[in-house]
């Protein structure tokens, strides 16, 4: 008997659509779920250490364990006033360029010069690193009308500085002084 080609050749090739219904169902459930759960505004928090006097169980100060005579602390303080920033430590107050007035005066357009503040703090940090035990802490104080946003901006300027694309840590341990000037 001679070879007879298969008859299947004549079967009709039907083009079938993918059944997308289950995927559609999945989408319809997943998208509303993710939409309701997603946060479009990113929140963050700033840790704040109360000065030991105000909060009894505030974070322990490593310098406090040393004997009193050996304790040498920097006690860096930034004061925010309506004329600009004053930077001071336990030893001295940094003066502005003309020898008086705020360390970093406001810019000519009346805004605070946060960039200059970061630069100045970087200088302080480089000198204080390794010399003082509290070379990562800073106390902020402000005049009573200073806005919260300015305070947060100052904390940002005192936390890290960007030196030519390289991020350097300055004084991440921030405390607020309770005394209002």
């Amino acid at each position: 008997m001679a070879f007879k080609p298969s008859l299947r050749r004549h079967l009709k090739m039907e083009s079938t659509d993918l059944n997308l219904t289950p995927i559609m169902n999945l989408m319809v459930v997943l998208i509303p779920m993710l939409l309701t759960n997603s946060q479009f505004i990113k929140l963050a928090i700033i840790d704040l250490n109360l000065p030991p006097a105000a909060g009894a169980s505030a974070t322990a100060n490593p310098a406090a364990e040393l004997p009193k005579e050996v304790q040498r602390s920097l006690d860096l303080t930034i004061s925010i006033t309506d004329r600009g920033f004053y930077i001071s430590s336990a030893l001295a107050v940094l003066h502005g360029i003309d020898g008086k007035g705020p360390t970093i005066p406001k810019k000519d357009d009346g805004t605070y010069d946060f960039k200059q503040l970061s630069q100045k703090l970087l200088e302080v940090k480089q000198k204080a690193q390794g010399v003082f035990p509290d070379a990562d802490a800073v106390v902020l104080q402000a005049e009573k009308d200073i806005q919260y946003q300015t305070l947060v901006d100052t904390m940002d300027a005192a936390r890290v500085v960007d030196v030519g694309g390289e991020v350097r840590e300055l004084f991440p341990r921030v405390a607020l002084s309770a005394g209002v000037m």
Partner: protein
Amino acid sequence: MAFVPSKIKKHKSELEVGLNLTSMMDMFTIILVFLIKNYSTEGQLITPSDFLHLPYSNIQKAPEKGLDVIVSKQLIMVNNEPVVPMTDVVKNDPTVMDRGVIKPLREKLLYFSNQSKKMEVDYGIKFSGKVTIQGDKELPYSELVKVIRTCGLADYPNLRLVVYRQTD
């Protein structure tokens, strides 16, 4: 003469019109990928209050859970319950203020801290003393210090300031 239905139309083959879902699927896929990318498994630990504008900061620290203290321009709230109107605090009203401490806020915080301490004894849930402060960005420093001072004196020394994360 009565209506005679068209004889041509009667014999028209019934064409099945399938809905073309491909473009819709594309769209859904893109939305889905975008949403999954934005999805955080922690969920929303802190809900920003509607009454205030938080300040902006470039800090990247993720939010933590804590007792909510909201300081808006009108009033101070703890866990979304109004505690004291801001005007009394600003005026240093002696019925509300006591040497820089906001009395109603202190009582409220002490109530919550006592409850948390009881929970610590009964169920072993550690009392962290964490409080998240949501302050309006125009809040003056003097009022902020009053709130912080009160928190410190009411067994909540671990303060967390809630800010919007700046994206740049």
